[in-house]
Amino acid sequence: MDSGIGQGLLTGFAVASTPANLLFCFLGVTLGTLIGVLPGLGPAGAIAMLLPFTFGMDVTTAIIMLCGIYYGAMYGGSTTSILINIPGEVASVVTTFDGYQMARKGRAGPALAIAAIGSFIGGTFSVVALTFVAAPIATAALSFGPPEYFALTLVGVVAAAYLSGKSLLKGLVMVIVGLMFSTIGVDIVTGGTRFTFGRIELYSGVEIVPILMGIFGVTEIMFLVEQPFLKQEIQTRVRLRDLWPSNPELRASAGPIARGSLIGFVIGLLPGAGAMVSSFLSYATEKKLSQHPEAFGTGVIEGVAGPETANNSAAGGAMIPLLVLGVPYSIITAIMLSALITHGLSPSPMLMTKQPEFFWGVVASMYIGNVLCVILNLPLVGMWVSILRVPFAKLFPLVLLCCVVGVYTINSRLFDLWVMIASGGIGYLLRKADYPAAPLVLALVLGPLMENAMRQSILISHGDPFIFFTRPISGVLMFVSLVFVSLPSVGWLAKRLGGAWRFALPRE
């Protein structure tokens, strides 16, 4: 087993260090950082914008570049959190609490440095853990049949609905809408068309990229345009020699980074949660363990080190369900799955053994990507900050231009562009009404997988729906989904009954 991993990594580094792959990893990290630094656009937007340009590449190169974009955008997001108090994406919201306060106290350099160091350690830890955990999970998953896959996807969408918004009901509505969109097109079992209204453009199903660009590009721009533009106070005086944290700061950060790595990886593995939850959880843990919890929020380095480590570690953890099971649990990995499918590759437990060059190449490129991120972000932080000085009025039309060209690239047809604009408008209305977009996107990608697994399961059981509950693994997963769905109503009932109980008591 160990020699298998060693052999695999050797193969991987051989694949990842070819000039073309190194170049695209570097390009991905650079472009990702660039987009991540732009306010409002996070990793999902960055990947969606650049996805169409990877379609012409070799699969391995494409995924290596997408991973690079992902890491780069995460780094870029923490830079803006610390320097201008605008999180580039949800996972770095927590970083603003203490990071921006540190910057205001003149400690922007150490905050940026510890974010980069933590991200590097967290990212590397999770890639190492991935290397060791992937094989056993793949072996276990070999026995999974359609009912297990149905249950895995169900847990994924239900957990996303539960964790991504204020209201479970609204999250579930978005899941259903996403699944409904996924049924558009030719039905692969019977060959008949569904919900196409005679449009040839819809026969092969809805194209995912225009929808992503609409929701993560156009919608974001709409929100930014609507608000009166505020001049941000930018803490720019970051010199290279001011970057290095002091010894007490380094000592204070060691614990949070170690715990953040672990928290991030485990949370990243689980359905629904991902980078955002892991960063909040790490912040809460550090605050609880701290000897001075009241100082959190005023600029303590632990509050930056922990969450920044955790969200990058979660990125690695999230790759396991995608690469090993073929079931993505986060938006980022869902976008990557759609990229893989476009390239004609569907991840499964057999991926590691059948296509070792791809699997290990991608894993090895993550080690390289993490190193590149640190090299790009620490010494060049001044350059990224200068991008923030480009006025917003000049920036957003160019972002829209990139979205339009990106969408046009896929099929060279205007239909996709109309889908993008419509999705942008719908995304805007949904966000205004507190309907979260993440469950919709996840359900859209998981939909076909879910429907096929359900049909095959029912076929195996000759029409008995209890097949999902009687097999042990799928039974447990179905139970977990049920718990997620019933948690809010249990809380509501308890409150109601508690209230009634108090009324029934005689008043004193």
Binding site: F53, G56, L169, K170, L172, V173, I176, V177, L179, M180, T183, D187, V189, T190, G192, R194, F195, V218, I221, M222, V225, E226, Q227, P228, P391, A393, K394, F396, P397, L398, L400, L401, V404, V405, Y408, T409, S412, L414, L417, W418, I421, G424, G425, Y428, K432, E451, M454, R455, I458, L459
Partner: protein
Amino acid sequence: MGPGFFPLLLGIALVGLTLLLLVKATLAARDPSLSLPQRFFPSRSGLLKLLYLIGALAVYVLTLQPLGYLLSTLLFLCALFLAWDPKKPGLAVAVAVASVLCSYVFFDLLLQVQLPKGLLG
């Protein structure tokens, strides 16, 4: 298990969920302790900007094939630059021209995207 089974299940689930939301919203509306939600559009000028943005995007898509990439993109960028920063029209047009040429070199020549040629083709 015909092709309509999964959509039917989804439809039933959606009807159930929206009914629950309707009940919840009605109950919440009766509760005076809950404050009114914030306004849907924060300001009139914000709404006008949004409509202008969407209009510009729609015109861009409509003119993309007849006019070609270079001309339609130039129009689109000028429309947005000028509207957001009307004080320096010369600079806006210059930035637009430069962006169009740079993006053409990057997308068409470097990445080999097949952009519509239109009038100039």
